[in-house]
């Protein structure tokens, strides 16, 4: 069976969940399950005016491509889309999108989960907080829980 080519994008613009799903399922009748994940910027009890997302151009796309390839192979996915934004993102706005398609639900759930766990720990993106006064604050610290989430797949 030919493996599907994932759709991977790193962009400053917002994305639209439904149109990304439409692109993935266009003209197909063999997909039985679509699982999507959208990560949003939290306001942290109104202490945050924005998250500024920095990325390593080229490597970010390459790493997302690699993770997507692993997920397609491992869960026999029929399609996979991953979009990650960069730049300043306000509370309530979208940061990341993952859509996994498969014949049955379990592979799609697992595939989307797997991609997010690896994306958080190995795709080169960093978040910096901006306070409500508009001034840059600290860089977000990496969490051990994210490493544990990734390690459950090994």
């Amino acid at each position: 069976m030919t493996r599907p080519t994932p759709t991977i994008r790193v962009q400053s613009d917002d994305f639209d969940l439904q149109s990304e799903i439409d692109v993935l399922t266009d003209g197909r009748t063999d997909i039985g399950a679509i699982v999507s994940f959208v990560g949003l910027c939290r306001g942290e009890q109104n202490t945050l005016s924005a998250l500024e997302l920095e990325h390593y151009p080229g490597m970010a796309e390459a790493e997302m491509q690699r993770i997507a390839g692993l997920a397609i192979e491992r869960f026999d996915l029929m399609g996979l889309t991953a979009v990650h934004r960069y730049g300043k993102i306000a509370p309530g706005e979208n940061i990341v999108l993952v859509i996994a398609a498969s014949p049955h639900r379990q592979a799609a759930f697992d595939g989307a989960n797997f991609v997010m766990d690896f994306l958080k720990t190995s795709a080169p993106f960093w978040k910096k907080e901006h306070g409500v006064d508009g001034q840059p604050r600290d860089w977000v610290a990496a969490k051990d829980a994210d490493d544990s989430a990734r390690d459950k797949w090994s």
């Binding site: 990325h55 993106f125 990496a142």
Partner: protein, 84 residues
């Protein structure tokens, strides 16, 4: 000469996004590179104070600190990732 690119707080502390550096022959592994860079000034010292947490990518692929960096044309140095 090798191009080194820095990101996030490593970039801020070193105070430049990238530079071309001539590496001494004694720098063989990614860990050697971090130890060498740390000697180049206060900013480097502050950025690389705890080298164990720093991540290194050779030609845009992650490497461990004990891996050689021979053949690198671009080396990325950055803190643990916090995307998603």
């Amino acid at each position: 000469m090798v191009k080194i690119v820095y990101f996030a707080w490593v970039r801020e502390r070193i105070d430049k996004p990238e530079e071309e550096i001539e590496l001494p022959a004694s720098v063989v592994t990614a860990g050697d590179l971090l130890a060498y860079l740390k000697t180049l000034g206060d900013g480097y010292e502050a950025a690389l104070e705890y080298p164990d947490v720093i991540r290194v990518a050779v030609n845009q692929e992650h490497v461990e600190h004990d891996e050689p960096i021979a053949g690198a044309h671009e080396i990325g140095i950055f803190p643990p990732m916090t995307g998603g």
